[in-house]
Amino acid sequence: MTRLETAGGLIGRTVERVEDAGLLTGRGRYIDDLPVRRDTAHLAILRSPHGHAEISSIDTTAALALPGVFAVLNGEDVARLTRSMTVGVKANVECWPIARDRVRYVGEPVALVVAENRYVAEDALDLIEVEYERLIAIVDPENALAADAPVLHPSLGTNLINERSFRYGDPEAALATADHRISIRIAYPRNSCTPIETYGVIAEYDPGEDAYDVTANFQGPFSIHAVISRAMNVPGNRMRLRTPPDSGGSFGIKQGVFPYVILAAVAARVAGRPVKWIEDRLEHLTASVSATNRVTTLEAAVAADGRITALCWDQLEDCGAHLRAPEPATLYRMHGNMTGAYAIENVAIRNRVVLTNKTPTGLNRGFGGPQVYFALERLVHKIADELGLDRLDVIRRNLVPAGAFPYRTATGGLLDSGDYQTAIDRACAEGGLEALRLRRDSARAEGRLYGIGYAAVVEPSVSNMGYITTVLTPEERTKAGPKNGAQSVATVAIDPLGSVTVKVASVPQGQGHRTVLAQVVAERLGLRLEDVRVNTELDTARDAWSIASGNYASRFAAAVAGAASLAADRIRERLAAIAAAQLNVTADRIDFRAGKLFDRDNPDNAISFGRVAAASHWAPGTLPDGTGQTIRETVFWTPEQLEAPTATGGINSSLCHGFIFDICGVEIYRATGQVRIDRYVTMHDCGRILHPGMVDGQVRGGFAQAVGAALYEEYAYGSDGSFLTGTLADYLIPTVMETPEPLILHHETPSPFTPLGAKGVGEGNCMSTPVCIANAVADALGVEDIRLPLLPSRVSEWLYAEERPSSKPQDVAPVATGASGERMLTGAGSADVVATRDSVWTMLLDPNTLKAIIPGAHEVRKVSDTHFRAEVTLGIGPVKGRYRADIRLSDMIAPEAVTLSGGTEGALGSGRGTGRVTLTETATGTRIDYRYEAAIGGKVASVGGRLLDGAARVVIGQFFQALARHAGGSAPPSGAAGLIQRLSNLFRGRG
């Protein structure tokens, strides 16, 4: 492609963003800010508290009877009006946005309530009664493959939903003849780049036209529009999807709003009015979307000098409970660059996709890169160590040579441009590697733990829409027809006053697309930045778009800005022809600058841009023959390099391939196990830079998220499928205090395949930084099996081996076994009550007394002398809900002792427990001793241990204080304080 000449000087400058004035003054228009029709109702979603269970019954009578409730829907109601969502592999399995007969992850939608406002809708959720039959949950992907593992989808008959093997070159021969075979096994955890704005949908249904109109903070890809339309059972032109002007971040995550588009649209249809849904944070963390966790074994054939001659990948991908579109794309996005930055000719890949009782996965910044590069770059590090070579030498020895671009990789990728050697040399020199090594040596000389890590990464951008079909067999692909390309689109329009508007389908999520597009188009047309206005709202009923539209795969700078440049040039060419006729020169002499078109050889011979530009509106008859209109030009651009997969499974999965080389120095504190990033250098080649400030903003933002993934963030599950990190107090996003400032360097080698020479840049550090930090920690500690996140507790185990139980005798008898992996709570305490033992005994067995003293009790019913049923509302952190408790009494020794055992069940979770209460006569009344052990599961377990333990302490304390008050004489203040004190000592002792 010929390079465009761009002399105007706007592209490549760090101009102020046109987006910012509105965002800084509170005038942003995010989804929850948009005006809605006055009759709009609000949707709330009842979600599964269990990781795996059959739904025995759902009773919505009480919820429907609540004033202000318009509709209540269950899975069958939704299924009647929709179809299963498309699944991306050939498999006998359905994929619904709401559970029908079975729940398969904590947080899976079970019922929908439409009510006059969100408060009432959430009240109604509490009134829905769901009976579950619990099943054994599968959380670990390897366990999901066991012969006796419970199967999530009976129709599938297995949890292994897809398996494919690929072979490029002759990996077996390379392994057989290699000097060394070196392998590594990696378990990459789940996490999410979770944006600060959650999902939101506003949906409307027009029964007269059988058409849906939905606004959602969806980010694309708009291939998902086809999935939504099919699920809604309408042609695409009756499924209008729009996006709001502003979005509060996405990082891939807002692709996952689409199942809720379906739910809200159906709810609007049933309720007969527009429906709005804004997700809350607990819903978002629990059930929006997650990156995949992956178990990888990677083996390399290695020559004595460290040269890698073959790579054998075995990847086990965990996509959660359902394979939702576009999965298993995470596993295939990197397919063309599975050899990273290295020239390795022989590759074998076995890809398996497994389903487990966890949240379905989807797009997440870095998409597949963190998992692949963690294995590859840990392995390269290990190869150097095992062969006694310098790690940097091993990286350099294997790099794709600088003169080899465009370079075809073994797996079919076409690396467009680069000079990896120079980029690394510059990073080492300008990043101060020598000084860093001295710093490490002197720290080690003082006995401190210090390590240096590297990572070399190829960052793919502009995805080939056909790469996901690599998962199909060649026969299946032939049958389905070829898929390839990556259509991007931009429109440049000129109004009757000659001012310019640009329209694209890029759906920005905060990156500043409007500014960059104004720079590009203004420069091409010789205008000022403020002369061009850009609109990035997308409306599928009105705008130009394609399946590749949207904000993902770092496609903006390379593809969308490029398309805008091409559209501007088409208009420019015609404007030049019009001006040439009026200025009496040939069109090739016309130049554009400062709002004028002029004769390059005689700049005084000029005409204003507005006058030429408006001619198509006011006087089309005066245009020179053969010159088309200049009112509106729409350009679709798809690069020819993005071809469909070959018969042998080769795929150029992305158009552009940037390069990153990172250097990290870490210190680990022996006393705490804390990892501190001492220095971080990140070198980027993202082709031509369009806006340096924004590029560095992307790098810093990706880096901060990667620091979170490396050190703090994990979507943690109990072995029963309970989700354990449902608040931002448990899922730890780095604050300013935890985010170091990296040194950012650039080495530009423009892409020959994109109109502006630009490549993507936003995802690279999510791929390079976690493994770079891990390599530094491995260097510091000499540990091979580095697992993320590098929490102090985990690092301490490497430092000091696993923590042993305290040798101090503990006065709590029941020790939690945690057989099911639920959160275990144990405790003991005592209280003094000014009442006789007999009267305390009577009170404990009297439902009216219990109702008065159980915190949050609505009702206590005596089923028999030894069986009670209670309804209570309890709030723990952000999780407040109504629970039904079933309590049985046993081992009764009246009036001395009784064992209470039972379980609770509620929308937010479940608990089982036993408690032994003993009553002893004292001088002033009765002393109550109790000890308990309880297991908590479901949504409530997601608020995390520190809140739950504290809440249990408080609730039990309140119970006995209330008992003491009810007994007619309050316990001595010291008694209550003593109880809390004893309990907190106890918990501190356990912590």
């Binding site: 910012d20 995010y30 780049c193 944006p195 944070r281 107090a729 985010t739």
Partner: protein
């Protein structure tokens, strides 16, 4: 405070961005919902509703506070300021806002209003605030886009500018 009934809406009189307002709210309604959905000032954003992310931060009687952890009824008689009050004029940014724009202290802008309200209070109470004070106050906010460095730079620039301004005026 008068006794309130859960089933009813009750009046809330307070000062909002310098003007007296009267709104109606159930006693369980959050201040964030009152501002956004009853009064229609949507500049205050809601990110977590449990007080961690800081996006909903407003000023109540001059002090930064989480609107998602405040009941609407709690601001009776108080002086509440939101991000909409920061700019001196609709067409002009405050020095702090302008510094954010200049230093690229925002990307998606969702967390930004809360951060501005915290920093505005800090720079008023502690005009000599330095890098560590700013970082300390920012640590109550989560930003997922920027990696924070440009926010710190913007705040430092605004503090510097404010000090210069005061020296000139003195």
């Amino acid at each position: 405070m008068p006794r309130m009934n859960a089933a009813q809406r009750h009046g809330v009189d307070f000062t909002l961005n310098g003007r007296r307002v009267r709104a109606e709210a159930e006693n369980r309604m959050l201040l964030s919902d009152l501002l956004r959905h009853e009064i229609g000032l949507t500049g205050t954003h809601v990110g977590c509703e449990h007080g961690v992310c800081g996006a909903c931060t407003v000023q109540i009687d001059g002090k930064p506070a989480r609107a998602c952890l405040t009941l609407a009824q709690q601001v009776r008689g108080s002086d509440v300021r939101t991000v909409e009050a920061l700019a001196p004029d609709p067409a002009e940014l405050s020095p702090l806002q302008a510094a954010f724009r200049r230093h690229h202290g925002l990307q998606c802008g969702f967390c930004t209003p809360g951060i501005l309200m915290s920093l505005d209070a800090l720079l008023r109470e502690q005009p000599d605030a330095g890098r560590e004070d700013i970082r300390e106050h920012l640590s109550g906010h989560l930003c997922r886009c920027t990696g924070y460095a440009t926010i710190v730079e913007a705040a430092l620039a605004a503090a510097e500018e404010q000090r210069k301004e005061e020296t000139t005026n003195a």
